[in-house]
């Protein structure tokens, strides 16, 4: 059973690697933004399989990875716009 889980982890990691080759090569920015999603799912799967239920902290690391992959996707999606595009003052505040 541990051997099987580790082999599955290696397989998922190989899938992530193949996906990364395609994504990082993609000529547009839109292709590369998917990298965070790919790692968010594939990375968590590889992590949990490699831990195989042995390391109890693996669930915490998986939670952190899920949160941060989502955060990275959002940061990527909003990255093309310059941060100073927000120029509307808050209600009540005079600029």
């Amino acid at each position: 059973m541990p051997e099987f889980l580790l082999a599955a982890a290696g397989f998922v990691l190989a899938m992530v690697a193949l996906g990364l080759v395609r994504i990082l090569r993609g000529p547009e920015d839109g292709d590369r933004m998917m990298a965070a999603q790919l790692l968010g799912t594939g990375g968590i799967a590889a992590l949990l399989l490699a831990a195989g239920g042995g390391l109890p902290a693996a669930a915490d690391v998986a939670l952190t990875l899920a949160l941060l992959a989502a955060f990275a996707s959002m940061a990527f999606a909003k990255s093309g716009v310059s941060p100073e595009a927000y120029d509307e003052p808050k209600p009540g505040e005079k600029e």
């Binding site: 059973m1 099987f4 889980l5 599955a8 397989f11 998922v12 899938m15 193949l18 996906g19 395609r22 994504i23 993609g26 547009e28 839109g30 292709d31 933004m33 998917m34 965070a36 999603q37 790919l38 968010g40 799912t41 594939g42 968590i44 799967a45 949990l48 399989l49 195989g52 239920g53 109890p56 669930a59 915490d60 998986a62 939670l63 899920a66 949160l67 992959a69 989502a70 996707s73 959002m74 990527f76 999606a77 093309g80």
Partner: protein, 96 residues
């Protein structure tokens, strides 16, 4: 009982890995950014869910198992919204 749980784990993890394979094949073969995004989001999340299901008999019950399920739900919600966001950004650039 042990044997039944082991068979369940093997079946679930194998089908999860199969969906990961399907998602990666989609990533490599689909012609367009948006279709690739679709393949990645749908297939990989389903694969993650099946793998999680397969690992449930091996972790401490109940807390760690519930935490794993919660992580999967979080990953689902986050992936669905993030893929919408990326798709809007991609289409916006081409003038939707």
């Amino acid at each position: 009982m042990r044997l039944a749980l082991d068979i369940f784990t093997i079946v679930a993890v194998s089908s999860g890995a199969f969906f990961f394979l399907a998602g990666t094949v989609g990533l490599l073969r689909f012609p367009d950014t948006l279709t690739r995004l679709h393949a990645l989001t749908k297939a990989d999340n389903l694969g993650l869910g099946l793998i999680m299901l397969g690992l449930l008999p091996h972790v401490a019950w109940p807390f760690v198992a519930l935490k794993l399920v919660a992580v999967w739900v979080l990953a689902l919600v986050a992936s669905a919204s993030a893929s919408q966001l990326i798709a809007r950004k991609v289409r916006g650039r081409r003038g939707s």
